[in-house]
């Protein structure tokens, strides 16, 4: 066994013997991803589920068309979408002022009569200004109803007039003799319209895009895939940093001097430290990958490419901290600077806030961070795009940092 391997193995053994810190840094990003994901999760069927829209309805008509309109809200899908409360106008206004409903639909007086007489009428929607989306849905619904009712009123104008002639619309009050001419007229119109309406020549077919090789699997936006890479790289930095800070600790407590007294060279020691940090980070990545799949159903895309990205990112982190430790004077300085550096990287690099949400200036600075390129690489692989640019950038800068560390760190090993 080479001396480098011996040191790497020893570091790994020590990490495994006191695994709490590493486990914690693996569990925290998983927990945070879970928490944030649960808050913003659009649902398991990947559709946006809206809460029921609280709609107040003021029925100033109370005639047949208004009854048809209100009856529509009892249909299954609309019943799930709308929570309808019938109110009179003053009560409705009060409730709207208190913001107790998303919208109020006002059915005007003589709504049914006007429709039957082919006169223009108007459905009024009062929207709650404190809500943006739900009142808009209610408005769209009213607009659709207006179009539908207009068409029906125009096609069945005669029938409407007959129906309105009945005093009350109950089975007991209407005789077969009264109904017969109405039904005959309606039947004739339906037969005539059938030519135009059925069969429909144009149909809409809805298709959801799928990744290559993913046919048959439901595909949708998984919020955990969106959050987890950012969290992972932030905590990878926290996990790998102590391995490199060990250089300062061992220098302070005499272990470095003892090591340098052996045939071990300072280059071997620096190499061992860099790969020790890399190994710990990579093992955590493997666990994180598995945990992400099992807990959050994250589809990592092409696993081998993703593993390559993890390996290169871990190397980058390890080499970066090795280089920093060449310039830190002692372990206190290393301890004091490491965490702020990681936090700045994470804030600008998209670990804390989505890259797309950052201001342009921050996004530009973020391009200088490992977090940015790791997240970009992860997403590209997940989306089936080429991760060549992030991989190359991370590999080249990582190698440059390692080279600086190899040159500068042996000087720091001097006691």
């Amino acid at each position: 066994m080479s001396r480098t391997t011996l040191i790497i193995g020893n570091d790994l053994r020590r990490r495994l013997r006191s695994p709490m810190a590493t486990i914690l840094f693996l569990v925290i990003p998983l927990a945070m991803t879970g928490l944030i994901g649960m808050i913003f999760d659009p649902g398991q069927d990947n559709r946006t589920k809206l809460p029921p829209i609280h709609l107040l309805v003021v029925d100033n008509d109370k005639d047949i068309a208004a009854k048809f309109l209100l009856g529509a809200f009892d249909q299954k899908e609309l019943k799930e979408m709308f929570q309808v409360t019938l109110v009179d106008a003053p009560a409705g206004e009060k409730l709207m002022q208190k913001g107790k409903a998303s919208a109020m639909l006002v059915i005007p007086e003589h709504f049914s009569a006007d429709l039957a007489d082919q006169k223009p009428s108007r459905l009024e929607v009062v929207k709650n200004p404190s809500e943006e989306f739900l009142p808009g849905v209610a408005e769209e619904f009213a607009a659709t109803m207006a179009v539908g009712f207009s068409a029906l009123a125009q096609v069945f104008a005669d029938e409407l007039r007959i129906i309105r002639g009945f005093r009350s619309l109950t089975l007991e009050s209407v005789t077969i003799a009264e109904m017969t001419p109405f039904l005959e007229m309606a039947r004739a119109k339906i037969i005539a319209l059938k030519t135009y309406l059925s069969p429909m020549l144009l149909k809409v077919k809805s298709v959801t895009t799928k990744k290559p090789g993913q046919e048959g699997k439901p595909l949708g936006f998984n919020i955990f895939s969106y959050i987890f890479p950012g969290m992972l790289i932030m905590f990878l930095l926290f996990i790998i940093e102590p391995s490199l800070r060990e250089i300062q600790n061992e220098r302070a407590d005499g272990k470095t001097r003892r090591m340098m007294f052996s045939p071990l060279s300072s280059l071997e020691l620096v190499t061992a430290r860099i790969f020790s940090g890399w190994l710990i980070g990579f093992l955590v990545c493997l666990l994180a990958m598995a945990a992400g799949m099992l807990l959050f159903g994250i589809d990592w895309g092409r696993p081998l490419l993703q593993l390559a990205l993890f390996a290169i990112a871990c190397f980058w982190c390890s080499a970066f901290f090795a280089m920093l430790n060449a310039f830190f004077r002692n372990k206190n300085q290393a301890g004091a600077f490491a965490s702020p550096i990681i936090l700045v990287f994470s804030a600008f690099g998209g670990s804390m806030l989505p890259l797309e949400q950052l201001p342009a200036g921050m996004r530009w600075v973020g391009k200088l961070t490992v977090n940015n390129w790791f997240i970009t690489g992860c997403r590209r692989i997940m989306d089936g795009a080429s991760p060549l640019l992030p991989l190359t950038l991370l590999a080249v800068t990582g190698l440059a940092f390692a080279a600086v560390a190899m040159i500068a760190l042996p000087r720091r090993l001097s006691v």
């Binding site: 001396r3 011996l6 407590d253 005499g254 272990k255 090591m259 007294f261 052996s262 045939p263 060279s265």
Partner: protein, 313 residues
């Protein structure tokens, strides 16, 4: 002539304006146990750091068995160090530590394991070989620290204050180990503040201060070098005048009266063999001597005289 195991010639190292080592020269014969005494700031740690290769930009040369110590890293297989710090992993067991530190040297794996177990027995840690070291007492940790320095059977062992901060029992145990190592032929350089330890353990003593060796030799040689004398305190029934008449000062026989009063006198002897002659003269002058105390010259006195300060300064 037997080849020196270690030859340090004109070693010099400065930190800015401060000189840590100035023309420092020292050599060591095989099997010799050398005590390196010096107050804080004397340059002991700088010397050890240079020998370990962790300190560069120095002048002079260091040869191990005639070869430049820094020219061939493999030479380090033949040198061991016991640093002042507890330089091992407290979360590992004693055995794991020995195997790790020993693994840095070119020792076959089987031999290393055998040697580690053997050393655990020597430092009396066999029964706790597989326990994490953090559970050990200070003395046990010090013993392990020494064992790690010996794991690769070095020909030269450097010990940097190996008994700091431990109880008497543990100290005795470590000094026994060092003596045993020396007895088996390993050369030892042993830096310490404790004069008694050097007196008990070392075959040769080097006194250093301000980056230089002031003197080297056995304890007796050092005493001779500084001209330190044995002090004799005499008490009894006599007058100061009568005592001075019996032993006139200077006596010319290497006897010096340091002080005299009625019933008490203090004398310095260059040679303790002159004490019986002094007693005969006192009896010849019918002076009644009730008590006689002889104080041998100490290393501390030698050190004080050479460095002008105590080791605790």
């Amino acid at each position: 002539m037997q080849q020196k195991i270690l030859e340090i010639k004109n070693l010099g190292k400065s930190y800015g304006e401060t000189t840590a080592l100035a023309n420092f020269s020292l050599d060591l014969a095989p099997g010799e146990v050398l005590g390196l005494l010096g107050p804080n700031g004397a340059g002991k740690t700088t010397l050890i750091s240079i020998l370990s290769g962790t300190l560069r930009d120095f002048s002079g040369s260091v040869a191990f068995r005639g070869q430049d110590l820094f020219a061939d890293r493999r030479l380090k297989n033949r040198i061991g160090i016991v640093p002042q710090e507890m330089a091992f992993y407290e979360d590992l067991s004693a055995l794991e530590n020995l195997l790790f530190w020993g693994g840095l040297y070119d020792i076959p794996e089987k031999e290393l394991k055998r040697r580690a177990l053997e050393l655990l027995a020597v430092v009396e840690l066999s029964t706790r070989a597989r326990e994490p070291v953090k559970k050990f007492s200070g003395g046990m940790k010090r013993r392990l620290n020494v064992a790690i320095g010996l794991v690769h059977r070095p020909e030269l062992l450097l010990l940097d204050e190996p008994t700091v901060g431990i109880d008497v029992q543990a100290k005795v145990s470590i000094l026994d180990i060092i003596r045993e190592v020396g007895r088996k032929g390993t050369s030892v350089v042993f830096t310490t503040h404790q004069l008694a330890e050097v007196e008990q353990t070392c075959s040769r003593i080097a006194i250093m201060d301000q980056g230089k060796i002031l003197a080297t030799g056995t304890l007796a040689e050092l005493i001779r070098i500084v001209g330190e004398k044995e002090i004799v305190e005499v008490s009894g029934e006599f007058s100061a005048t009568a005592f001075s008449e019996a032993i006139p000062a200077p006596s010319g026989a290497g006897i010096e009266i340091l002080s005299v009063s009625d019933d008490f006198a203090m004398l310095a002897f260059a040679d303790s063999q002159d004490i019986p002659a002094m007693m005969q003269r006192l009896f010849a002058h019918r002076l009644h001597v009730a008590d006689l105390k002889i104080k041998s010259p100490s290393l501390e006195a030698v050190f004080l005289k050479m460095t002008g300060r105590s080791l605790r300064d």
